[in-house]
Symmetry: C2
Subunit: 395 residues, 2 copies
């Protein structure tokens, strides 16, 4: 038991969440690249800039169904004085005195510079009666109007959206390099049975889904009876860029995870000015970062969201910030919080106002399951008054 | 060519988007149920109410590390007048005159009703010096405080969140019934080559990702040269709850999809007061709904979002509304729109203000790929003035 053993003593000091996040943000992120087909690109991050190989459209094309004409020939045409044009045959040109039936999307016939809609012209046999004039370029999409050859197809740093995958495909991209997903190993130090009743393991299903939400691939394993040995294997075996261990991080007699990490590698922070989630820790074994998340499921959720998820997102090249949509709302009642701790409060939206669900530590995962989102109360504040405008991170 | 053939004529009338959405909303939705493990439950919708089989916690438990005591014995304890208690041995009780070291999460020892934190007591050998009084229930989570046996674990109608899956697991749920995903067959009527250059097929990758976003399973196939035959097979073969056909829906000579649907089953609406996306149609073959989406990729995207996606979501038991997060913003400049058409305008957020990207039809998928979201301009409006507050559906 070394000088940093907090067991049976409590945390003498706690690191700020900002300091822990700065540690996460300083961790080098060098995701690899992997090639995927464009049909699997949605949701992934491009690994390199993608430039359009050809213009889109590659040539002038009709952007409505109708008759391709030479606009200057239609000047003065009206229902009283229709212009008579000859409909082009298979040749698909609109030479002088001719019009050509076109469908939206096809290349403009040589010579034509406008597409008349069907209410501006009436076909009678091989003759087209034009009853309205058209300006040049009406009904036409110019070559390169959507995209010029060489222009960037996508920005970096953002997951590819479904319609962006569509644009890539339209631009002729069949395969592309995307960032590899970070592999995250999760080591469950085990839920404590209580009063003879097993409390199910909440961490595995929860963390797996959170890691996937953040773009990672989760491998979940049980620590079994020997935590030190399990932590050693999990930290040293290849196949993961990040190790998350849950449970046994606190100040109780069996809370050996921080000590085990200190023996095996480096325990850099343990004990955060955070509630719930304050017994979280972080460090590394060799060049593999290790995050210790509390065993209490709600504390585990909060520490994952603020720290571990941030590292998962960074290791996959994503923005580190919380991924939840945000919304401002008035607090329906006072929210009390301890100065010196960042508190995370579950809230429910009722008639557009945020109702805090109990105090921050009670209610557990059950409160979070009923909540619409959470509010961060900065360590500098004693809370918020009723009616204050707060930012809700929506689940 | 029957009386409803709009080819070479144009749409005589257009149905409102509200009417088309009402058709979608009237379509019967009876998703089946399938059993999954709790580790695969996140993102799925519960098929039946889930009630807690046992209370959570099942018994009173410590919610912090410390010493379990009988609170009434601590009255008056202080650093000047410490109370001396005997530390319990393996028996794990806190009988009169005793305290018991406990870790957060374990059941309270019989007799104890509070947990002293480590700064309120000092262990010296088998003696505990208590230097502060505690109230009853301090540091204790009561049986059922999170959840009472029989209480609902989850609401219906909402995808299970990662931490809700965690709660299910904590409550002892190992397997549960969730709604089956709707199987969506996508029939690509084929992108038109232009000026000898193939324009890649945007629809397949885009629709696959959109359908998955909306909780469906996509099966994408090419129509090949014979659209009627392909539509017949796609509509009649088992294995799908919904058929989406893309392309050949307009007023050009080869726009045969609506006619083919009318011959095979029912074409209920064709031509919407929508831009882009106005050539969309809908109907059914037997009891299978069929949506016809335009071939232009941006029009296809818009018609998917407003109609097809709505049906995918409904068929999977999800809320029919657009799933995008919303945000209000001021328009950076005037947005002009045609009265009588619901227009969908791509916008980019620049310094918190919404900048429309060109007019609604130009720019195509490329504009949508650069956009942060889109704005719906109702058919009743001519657009919005610069500075107007608009709702952006964020990609």
């Amino acid at each position: 038991v070394g000088p940093d053993d907090v067991r049976l003593v409590g945390f003498a000091e706690r690191a700020s969440v900002e300091r822990a996040q700065a540690w996460v943000d300083d961790w080098p992120s060098r995701p690899g690249a992997v090639e995927v087909g464009v049909g699997d690109a949605a949701g992934r991050l491009p690994a390199a800039p993608l430039l359009a190989a050809q213009s889109l459209p590659p040539a002038d094309r009709a952007c409505r169904d109708g008759y391709a004409v030479r606009s200057e020939e239609t000047a003065g045409a009206s229902a009283y004085d229709p212009l008579l044009l000859r409909l082009a045959e298979a040749a698909r040109t609109a030479g002088p005195g001719h019009a050509d039936l076109v469908a939206a999307g096809v290349a403009m016939p040589p010579g034509a510079d406008a597409v008349l809609s069907f209410d501006a012209a009436l076909a009678v046999g091989q003759t087209l009666e034009v009853i309205a004039a058209t300006a040049g370029e009406a009904g036409v999409e110019r070559a390169g109007q959507q995209l010029v050859a060489g222009a960037p197809l996508l920005g970096l740093g953002q997951a590819i959206r479904p319609h962006q995958a569509g644009l890539l495909a339209a631009a002729g991209v069949e395969r592309l390099l995307v960032l590899d997903r970070p592999r995250v190993r999760v080591l469950l130090a085990g839920a404590k049975p209580i009063a003879g009743l097993a409390v199910g393991d909440a961490h595995g299903p929860m963390l797996r889904a959170l890691i996937e939400r953040d773009g990672g691939l989760a491998e979940v394993r049980q620590a079994g009876p020997d935590l030190r040995r399990a932590l050693r294997s999990a930290a040293l075996e290849p196949g993961a860029e990040l190790l998350i261990a849950t449970g046994r991080t606190g100040t109780g007699p069996d809370d050996e995870a921080p000590l085990a990490l200190a023996e095996l590698g480096r325990l850099e922070l343990h004990g955060l000015a955070l509630r719930p989630g304050g017994s979280a820790g972080l460090g590394a074994v060799g060049d593999r970062p290790v995050l210790l998340l509390p065993g209490d499921p709600l504390a585990c959720l909060v520490a994952y969201e603020l720290l571990a998820g941030r590292l998962v997102r960074r290791l996959g090249g994503r923005a580190p910030e919380l991924p939840h949509p945000r919304r401002e709302a008035e607090l329906a009642r006072k929210l009390v919080s301890a100065v010196g701790l960042l508190e995370v409060c579950q809230v429910r939206l009722v008639e557009g106002r945020a109702v805090p669900l109990g105090v921050t530590e009670s209610g557990g995962l059950s409160a979070a399951a009923r909540a619409d989102g959470f509010v961060l109360v900065p360590a500098s504040l004693e809370g918020f008054a009723a009616g204050a405008l707060v930012t809700i991170h929506l689940y």
